[in-house]
Amino acid sequence: MPFFSDDYHGSSFFDYLARHRPDLTPFGRGSHPSAPLGSSPEEHRGAAVPPVAHGTTVLAIKYRGGVVIAGDRRATEGFQIADRRIEKVFKIDEHSAMAIAGAAGPCIEMARLFQTELEHYEKLEGIPLSCEGKANKLGQMVKANLPMVFQGLVVLPIYVGYDLKRNEGRIFKYDVTGGRYEESDYHAIGSGGKDARNAMREHFRKDLSEADALNIALRALYTAADEDVGTGGPDFVRGIYPTAKLVAGAGIADVEEARVRSLYTALLDTKKKEG
């Protein structure tokens, strides 16, 4: 690839990659980045999108100063556990994070591409994208992945950002066509998403404290793991716990494993007492 070519003037790394190295995009296949493998578009006409069955629970919940974003650690291959420690929550930049449900490979690649995309824009333009701009960009990336959905490679994210202009945390969910919908309070996706949403509905109220929101998030993951085979719960034997991040005005921070462990220890203690 030429180092100094002036046929692209935009500030998007994603567009640059799609133009010059389509093979490096998550859904790229050589010279035909958007052509589905081995079948013509006509064959898809009327074909239903395959059922979205990806073993995962990831969620986000708002609190007074930001958003908690958390996910379990299990990856499955059919009825087998493929990985017990996979990470599904990614830091994207200083003020945003995303969590993903879907096929692990394309999901991780999309997160990495999105990280590069935002950093690239910031360096070229001198200022970072707005929170809304970041959410829309992710929508375009999900949309570009649509042909792969017909082959069963679904990538569905939740995006969480702290909007520095509005001074509040925001949650965005997506559909496979790249549709972007803002959630006002909390959301969960993946095979255990419904269980997690039900669990959060019970306890959510406006202006939660950070500690309460984290507690509700971890509880919801526990409930999801209880009901859903695709979702892993806290594993005290191996020392594997769900991961969580706090996206706030001061920046993004990981919740330390020790804190997650002690919250789960307390939760299990009360469960044992209750019988």
Binding site: F3, F4, F13, L24, H120, K123
Partner: protein, 226 residues
């Protein structure tokens, strides 16, 4: 049809070089200087939004003197090159050396093949980490590349600034000393007091996690100078 005039290659190169040098000398000077915790970049730049110094990657910064539009295109190309490489391989595989080589190739090709050479001079700077030393590459308008130690100056009356710094530069000096030395050098050649608002200051600070580039606003520069 009129016969084209014959111009000897020597004459042509000389004319081009003169043209480029003149363009670059018209601007103001820019200094990159190693200090205790990284590399300091100071540019005499009255604009608060048209930058001469830019972040390229985790530990790499770029600065340029000369024609703004040409530098801007080179800057964008550099960031694309770095981000593509980091995405394709890994973040640690992006190096100032490979970037400096790419710039050298580009400027060299343009200088020898195009009618108009680029009127830019570039510094590619990388802060060392875990015991590796800092790297400062100066790339001239004709693509020639120089590996500088301690400090480097481009643009404006670069040679005069260099002479001033040669007598006064000390290795491993703290940020405060390095910044005041750069300021003194720029004031010396321009023969005027420079307001801190008229300077563009940035550092590649070794102790920062992840992206090491940071702009230093005028208020903070004043605080550093004490």
């Amino acid at each position: 049809m009129a016969m084209p005039y014959y111009v000897s290659p020597e004459q042509m190169m000389q004319d081009k070089a003169e043209y480029a040098k003149k363009g670059i000398a018209k601007g103001r000077s820019l200094i990159a200087m190693e200090y205790q915790d990284g590399v300091l970049l100071v540019a005499d730049n009255p604009s608060a939004s048209l930058y001469k110094i830019s972040e390229v990657y985790d530990s790499i910064a770029l600065s340029g003197a000369g024609k703004y539009s040409e530098f801007e295109n080179l800057r964008k190309a550099g960031i694309r090159h770095a981000d593509l490489k980091g995405f394709m391989y890994s973040r640690e595989d992006v190096t100032a050396r490979s970037l400096a080589n790419a710039y050298s190739q580009t400027l060299g090709t343009v200088f020898s093949q195009e009618l108009k050479p680029m009127e830019v001079e570039i510094l590619v700077v990388q802060v060392g980490n875990n015991g590796t030393s800092n790297e400062i590459y100066r790339i001239s308008f004709d693509g020639s590349i120089f590996d500088e130690r301690g400090y480097a100056v481009i643009g404006g009356r670069a040679e005069a600034v260099q002479i001033f710094l040669k007598e006064r530069y000390k290795q491993m000096s703290p940020l405060k000393e390095a910044l005041s030395l750069c300021l003194a050098a720029l004031e010396n050649v321009t023969n005027q007091k420079l307001p801190l608002e008229g300077l563009e200051v940035a550092v590649l600070a070794r102790d920062r996690a992840g992206r090491k580039f940071r702009r230093v606003p005028a208020a903070e520069a004043r605080q550093i100078l004490g």
